[in-house]
């Protein structure tokens, strides 16, 4: 484990020193640099400025990366873990008259319109946004600023398919073939964020009302539905530590690398892989925003810039198992070695999702569960 990390770190160093690498070396990354090239000045000379950042429970960051930010800016950050994405957003909306925090991180594209309509964010034209590709910048008014993304994909049990000489499904349509009977476990879109993402992928691919026919066929083909990712992955999925009976699970494109990094015995390859054909995955983008009414606007701006800086962007993969939006950020080796990424993920506009979310979930429930 330790060796693997050292190796990863070494590869990182090598990769970043190589001539073709466009990113600065890790040493330079320690210092936050403004676009103008000047070193950041601390916000104030005396007591550190307090900054409260509300996040969902999956947020994580390295101690060293945070400490460097706090030191160079003279800011003291407090994180408020506020439940899952929906819970955190609800709390931000309900407390918007007297905001609990200065910054909210973790609203994703499936909730984005609700957050924007509720008016919880102040616009901020971060200079670091220039590095972020247009496909991630969903809010033209720059209230919600993209930080990272992750693809919800089907993971499969490599050993099972190899042993039984069974072809891995390539498209969503393949999943209803009789040879995959009883092999897929998905999460309930009413209670799970990856579950909703996968439902959205099928809607983007089959359209309405075709997606319901697809789900009815899936149901006839022995589909298993559980309420949360935990149960799906650890209880039902055959290639996880829980060793269940389903050989395919709705999870993330980064899960195979996590299986290797968090393996209990050192693994040469991941026991799982993702199906990444066109439209089989749905891309979740996570945003940060400055909460309207903050009394720490300057510090909040610094924090948003920091989330887009290379030091944070390159910390994201191993802490949260999502991908940085900055294409210049270098991923850990394991993310290239064990993960596959979709080139054509399914996509739906946030306002379309917001307008139809409840109806789609209800229709899905009636078709699949009742």
């Amino acid at each position: 484990m330790k060796k693997l990390l050292l190796l990863t770190a070494f590869c990182l160093l090598l990769a970043s020193c190589a001539p073709q690498a466009t990113a600065p070396s890790p040493i330079e990354m320690e210092v936050v640099v403004t676009p103008a090239g000047q070193t950041v000045q601390p916000l104030s000379a005396g007591e550190p400025v307090p900054l409260t950042v509300m996040t969902h429970d999956s947020f994580a960051i390295s101690e060293s990366v945070l400490a460097a930010f706090e030191q160079s800016n003279n800011i003291k950050v407090t994180f408020l873990a506020s439940g899952d994405t929906g819970a955190a957003l609800n709390k931000a909306i309900l407390s918007k008259d007297a905001p609990l925090a200065d910054v909210l991180y973790g609203v994703d594209n499936t909730f984005l319109s609700r957050a924007l309509d509720a008016g919880i964010f102040e616009p901020y034209e971060s200079p670091a946004l220039v590095n972020v590709p247009a496909e991630f910048r969903l809010d033209a008014e720059k209230r919600a600023i993209p930080v990272d993304y992750g693809d919800v994909c089907i993971n499969y049990d490599k050993a099972f398919f190899a042993k039984n000489e069974l072809a891995v499904p390539q498209t969503l349509g393949d999943l209803i073939l009789p040879e995959y009977n009883g092999m897929l476990v998905v999460e309930n879109p009413a209670t799970s964020s990856p579950g909703l993402a996968f439902l959205l992928a099928t809607i983007a691919h089959f359209g309405e009302p075709g997606y319901l026919d697809f789900w009815r066929s899936l149901r006839a083909n022995g589909l298993v539905v559980v309420n949360d990712w935990n149960t799906a992955y650890y209880t039902n999925f055959s290639a996880s530590s829980g060793r269940g009976s389903q050989t395919m699970v709705v999870s993330y494109a980064t899960s195979p690398a996590a299986e290797v990094i968090f393996a209990d015995v050192q693994l040469e390859q991941s026991p799982t892989a993702s199906i990444v054909g066109p439209d089989t995955c749905f891309r979740q983008i996570e945003f940060v925003g400055i909460l309207a009414g903050t009394r720490q606007r300057a510090a909040a701006e610094r924090f948003v810039d920091f989330m887009l800086s290379l030091s944070f962007q390159e910390d994201v993969p191993l802490q949260m198992f999502v991908l940085p939006v900055d294409p210049l950020a270098i991923l850990p080796d394991s993310f290239y070695q064990f993960n596959e990424y979709p080139t054509e993920p399914a996509a739906l506009a946030p306002d379309v999702i917001a307008a139809n979310r409840e109806r789609w979930i209800q229709e899905w429930t009636d078709a699949v569960l009742r």
Binding site: M1, L5, S58, A60, I61, S62, E63, T78, L80, A81, S82, G83, G86, A87, L89, N90, K91, L94, S95, L100, F111, R114, A159, F160, K163, N188, A190, T191, V225, V226, N227, D228, N230, T231, Y233, Y234, T235, S240, S241, G242, R243, G244, S245, S251, S255, A258, E259, V260, F262, A263, D264, V265, L267, E268, P271, Q319, F321, E358, I361, L369
Partner: protein, 550 residues
């Protein structure tokens, strides 16, 4: 006397009714268009299932709980206190962990299917799973409340009945059961309410086909952001709870019988029939409680070796890696918490909850014993926190306590104080309902006699009240302790400051893939189990002066 209920009422008013009222009025006035025929019909079908499963679960829980209560109250046997403590452990285990335990036993690759490969059956996503888990969680309530009352029942009443020619069946139906009516009703109400508001069990073991009011509230509020619908469902749930507890209050005040209490009357089983009963119950409880619990520590020490991605036969090996790994902050994460610190935070919150809920609950329970118009009115309200949706209450906290209370930046909502406060909301009904029957069973004439003989008020309390109460206080403390350790209800939905507890740490491990994460979650759960077990044993072992002398 009657004003002793005020601190508890005041506490509930500020930390329960105020936030609840604010969130319900805010969201219901937002939008009344939720009251469509379709929505109401949906709410009705959810309500029907909620009742159905709660009713079934309660009956089944009593089927196991009542004989167990008799076992613990009447008989002495080896390993009694350990077994008793073990039956309380499930009460605080996070549902994720209980689900993992049941799965290790009954799941597709569990112990059962390993031993009996021909009898394969589906466990998760069935009504059976929901019912079993409810029994597993709540039997301890019956054991503690009914068993505690049974222990102190005056055996002379039964002996007298026997002398008058009644057989044991008659004695049980005509003497013992009527005397136990108050504790039976109290336990029944608590079990029913817990099943009625069940959330994690339905979500994780029942699966998507089943939905209770609490689950539906969570879905509406957190995933559909439909707060008005969530508020409507919360209101229905609250009204049902109020109806149950009002009914309970009416029945129970009429059935309290003060009796001269006796110290514990348990003894070794004598006849063959008693021995068979004791052994049979012991075996049953052992199988039911110990096996799912033991599967966790076993899994936390076992590595399942996959053949490096080419999974053939699974090989088992012993390892302590998961425990040593707990002490290493491998990824240098800000949110890493060493197990000792998580245990310390959990214990700190639990101790504060026990102290606070006893301090508020004791005076309240003693006021409720002598009902007057005021307490009669307030009595049913005490139980309401058990029927309030944690999701709704959590959101209520957000809008109520997010403004600075003092001129400084101090906000209650983001201070660690909020956690034991929220835990006490849930623990208080337990504490009051456990103390109340015990307090009521103290005959006034004993106190008068002691006072007439010249005992000071404190001496009266020490020699008359305390010996009778001590067991009930211990039971109440155990409830408060486990409620807090298990992170029930609203606390998980607050904006948590930086003092992660054991359940929080477990949830973090289980949120990412990988064998090491899973193993560490099992190891952390084992630590949580051990901490609870030791805590309960310590509370029960506390021999406060006066306990054994009566």
């Amino acid at each position: 006397m009657k004003f002793r209920i005020l601190p508890a009422v005041l506490f509930l008013a500020v930390f329960f009714f105020l936030p609840l009222a604010r969130i319900l009025t805010l969201t219901l006035t937002l939008n009344l268009s939720v009251l469509t025929a379709e929505n109401l019909q949906r709410a009705f079908s959810v309500l029907r299932f909620t009742f159905y499963q709660a009713f079934l679960s309660t009956i089944l829980t009593f089927l196991l709980g009542l004989p167990s209560a008799i076992l613990f109250a009447r008989f002495d046997f080896r390993g009694k206190s350990l077994l008793r403590a073990l039956t309380a452990v499930p009460f605080m285990l996070p549902t994720v962990v209980v689900a993992a335990g049941f799965n290790a036993l009954l799941g597709p690759r569990g112990l059962f299917s390993f031993l009996f490969p021909l009898y394969s059956f589906q466990f998760t996503n069935t009504l059976t799973a929901i019912l079993l888990a409810h029994i597993f969680y709540n039997t301890t309530i019956v054991i503690r409340i009914v068993g505690n009352a049974l222990t102190h029942l005056d055996p002379r009443l039964e002996q007298a009945a026997r002398t008058l020619g009644a057989d044991s069946k008659h004695v049980w139906w005509n003497v013992t059961l009527p005397l136990l009516r108050a504790p039976l009703l109290a336990a029944g109400l608590l079990v029913f309410l817990f099943d009625f508001t069940s959330f994690g069990v339905i979500l994780l073991l029942g699966g998507p086909q089943f939905s209770t009011l609490e689950v539906e509230i969570y879905i509406q509020a957190m995933h559909l952001l439909n707060l008005p619908m969530a508020a409507l469902l919360s209101l229905i749930q609250l009204l049902c709870t109020l109806a149950f507890s009002a009914l309970y209050s009416r029945v129970v005040t009429r059935s309290l019988v003060p009796t001269t209490p006796k110290p514990s009357s348990s003894r070794l089983p004598k006849t063959i029939r008693e021995r068979i009963l004791v052994f049979g119950m012991f075996f049953l409880l052992f199988m039911f409680f110990v096996l799912p619990l033991v599967s966790l520590p076993i899994r936390s020490l076992t590595r399942l070796e996959a053949d490096l991605g080419q999974r053939g036969e699974i090989q088992y090996g012993l390892t302590t890696d998961y425990y040593t790994e707990l002490f290493i902050n491998r990824r240098g994460s800000v949110f890493y918490v060493p197990p000792i610190e998580a245990a310390r935070n959990s214990l700190g919150y639990a101790a504060a909850t026990v102290a606070l809920s006893l301090a508020l609950g004791f005076p309240a329970a003693s006021a409720l014993v002598h009902p007057n118009r005021l307490t009669k009115l307030l009595d049913p309200l005490i139980m309401l926190p058990l029927g309030a949706s944690a999701v709704t209450l959590g959101l209520g906290y957000i809008i109520t306590f997010n403004e600075p209370l003092t001129s400084a930046h101090w906000i209650l909502l983001t201070s660690p104080l909020i956690v034991p406060l929220a835990h006490t909301i849930i623990a208080l009904p337990f504490v009051i309902r456990t103390l109340q029957p015990a307090l009521a069973s103290i005959p006034e004439r004993l106190r008068h006699a002691a006072a007439a003989l010249g005992a000071s008020p404190f001496r009266v309390w020490q020699t008359v009240d305390w010996p009778i109460l001590s067991r009930a206080v211990l039971a109440a403390s155990t409830f408060a302790f486990t409620v807090s350790l298990g992170e029930f209800g609203a606390a998980t939905l607050l904006a948590r400051p930086d003092y992660p507890t054991l359940p929080v740490a477990i949830a973090r491990f289980l949120s990412q893939p990988g064998g090491l994460n899973y193993g560490q979650a099992m190891a952390m759960s084992t630590i949580l189990m051990a901490v609870t077990l030791v805590g309960i044993l310590l509370i029960e072992k506390m021999r406060l002066p006066g306990t054994g002398e009566f």
